[in-house]
């Protein structure tokens, strides 16, 4: 399973990419392979403020709906509209075109709470 070294991770299988004052968020290769067949993504509302571990988006596979959580406290500043037309991007390119939203983070120190690649690899076995 692909777990890029340069990303951060949550226990709930989101990946986080630092981009200055913002973070880009998606779900990991492991998560998309567990869900398979993503058929619908409910994106967060722009400018929404969210606390860490607050559900902000929903990914629906054929079988079930899964919540996607904000990894740290922040404000939604960008959402991936391409997922509305092509939710399968999450399956095909989980770390690329399948990103879900960008969060402007309140406090960069919060990122220290997240897992590095090695810790996440250990989590998924």
């Amino acid at each position: 399973m692909n777990v890029p070294d340069d990303l951060l991770y949550t226990e709930t299988h989101e990946w986080i990419k630092r981009e200055g004052e913002n973070v880009r968020v998606g779900i990991t290769d492991h998560a998309q392979s567990e869900l398979t067949d993503v058929v619908y993504v409910e994106l967060p509302k722009m400018d929404r403020q969210a606390n860490a571990k607050e559900a902000v988006a929903v990914i629906e596979s054929v079988k079930a709906a899964s919540d996607i959580y904000a990894p740290v406290k922040g404000t939604v500043v960008e959402i991936n509209k391409a997922l509305e037309a092509d939710p399968g991007l999450i399956n095909r390119e989980p770390y690329g075109q399948g990103w879900i939203f960008v969060l402007k983070i309140d406090n960069a120190d919060d990122l220290k709470q997240l897992k590095d690649a090695e810790a996440y690899r250990k989590q998924i076995g």
Partner: protein, 404 residues
């Protein structure tokens, strides 16, 4: 010619039947009674190691560890619609009822008319409580003069067995043979080709809804022309010790026909496109088969069966609610069980089954709706996470095979 030494259920009928081509229409729910999940460690079917070897995601289901999918629900669904797929149905229960008067007794217990059966034939039927509510839906096969095989939902097996045993009168006997047998469903338009590859080109599968005992590799297996997918198909039952041999032979011989092992996920999307009910979701002890739109499997002209009086009352005053299939009008989130149904802002019902239909690429489902609104073509709204999405009530089935 292979020897016929094993007789799984002591079948007394003939060995084979002429084939009558045509799609299977009468099918039965094989997923099970989700509301009743046992607390004990789930059992493993004879195919457990094969599922793991094939990379299946295993989930506890009705007291069994079952594959929910191997690669992808959509891929497995399409394999069954376009080619052929194999499902593990070993979790299903097998009860054998036997003895003088077994026919009359079963006819007074189950809803369909068993007098329509002859040896080697089967029918879809219901076991009801006194209120007319559904305890289980099942297929009963006549396998001898006074011998019947009941194939029941996995999670219901023990309760069905206890319920039937309590009402039994001598010399009729009932036996729970579920632990001794494994089973698979082989479903899809390329079924016949695969059948001949497995059983020989001179052998014919039984006609629709019939059952036959056929020789297979020095043993005998039960082959029924039934399924839960809307495609042509068979369900095969064999001794647990023969299970892996049959599974691997089917996957090997099925390769040229594009066979895929298929899990419970695809089983659910396939049955829902056909509007076949799932006990525990669309059927329950609080719902009767008439409300569920399955009155054709209930013979009210029979003098008596458990639940008959309650059903006659329902017929007389009409059902308060009806189970209807619906389709979402726009692309959007798929409907799921327990979502509320609205009509002009007023709550009129609740979804019992829902998914994204891989064949139609739209959300589809079934819901119990106030009878006044349960009309084909009626517009409804499904509430999903606080937002209403438009849907329309459809005719059964939701998916129709295009004329070829």
């Amino acid at each position: 010619m292979p020897q016929r030494k094993v007789h799984p259920f002591g079948f007394q009928g003939r060995g084979g039947s002429p084939n009558r081509p045509g799609a299977i229409e009468v099918n039965r729910p094989y997923l099970c009674y989700v509301a009743r999940v046992t607390e004990t460690a789930p059992q493993r079917t004879p195919f457990y190691d094969e599922h793991v070897r094939l990379g299946a995601k295993m989930i506890p289901f009705a007291g069994w560890l079952m594959p929910v999918q191997y690669t992808s629900i959509v891929e497995e669904h399409q394999a069954v619609r376009n080619n052929v797929g194999i499902f593990d149905i070993s979790h299903m229960g097998q009860l054998v009822v036997e003895g003088a008067g077994a026919r009359e007794w079963l006819n007074a217990t189950l809803t369909n008319n068993i007098d329509k059966l002859a040896v080697g034939m089967g029918q879809y039927t219901f076991l009801l409580n006194e209120r007319g509510g559904t305890i289980d839906d099942l297929i009963v096969y006549q396998i001898g003069d006074q011998k019947f095989l009941l194939v029941v939902n996995a999670a219901r097996t023990e309760d069905d067995f206890a319920w039937l045993q309590k009402r039994l009168c001598a010399p009729i006997q009932i036996e729970n043979r579920s632990a001794d047998f494994g089973g698979v469903a082989i479903q899809g338009p390329r079924l016949l080709e695969l059948f001949h590859a497995l059983f020989g080109k001179d052998m014919q599968p039984p006609p629709r809804n019939a059952i036959a005992e056929l020789p297979f590799d020095r043993t005998n297996v039960f082959v029924a022309r039934t399924g839960y997918t809307g495609e042509d198909g068979i369900e095969v039952f064999f001794r647990a010790t023969d299970a892996v041999k049959f599974w691997n032979a089917t996957l090997e011989k099925g390769k040229p026909f594009g066979i895929k092992p298929c899990g419970l996920g695809a089983r659910d999307t396939l049955r829902l496109e056909m509007c076949y009910p799932l006990n525990g979701s669309d059927l329950s002890p609080e719902r009767n088969p008439i409300e569920a739109g399955l009155g054709t499997f209930v013979d009210l002209t029979k003098p008596d069966f458990i639940g008959r009086d309650a059903l006659l009352k329902t017929k007389e005053i009409g059902s308060r609610e009806k189970l209807v299939p619906f389709r979402m009008k726009e692309k959007g989130p798929p409907p799921r069980p327990h979502y509320a149904v609205f009509h002009n802002g007023e709550r009129v019902g609740e979804v019992t089954s829902g998914t994204l239909s891989p064949s139609l690429n739209y959300g589809v489902g079934m819901a119990y709706i106030d009878a006044a609104h349960a009309k084909i073509g009626a517009e409804i709204d499904i509430e999903i996470r606080g937002q209403k999405f438009p849907a329309v009530i459809e005719k059964k089935p939701l998916y129709k095979k295009s004329a070829s």
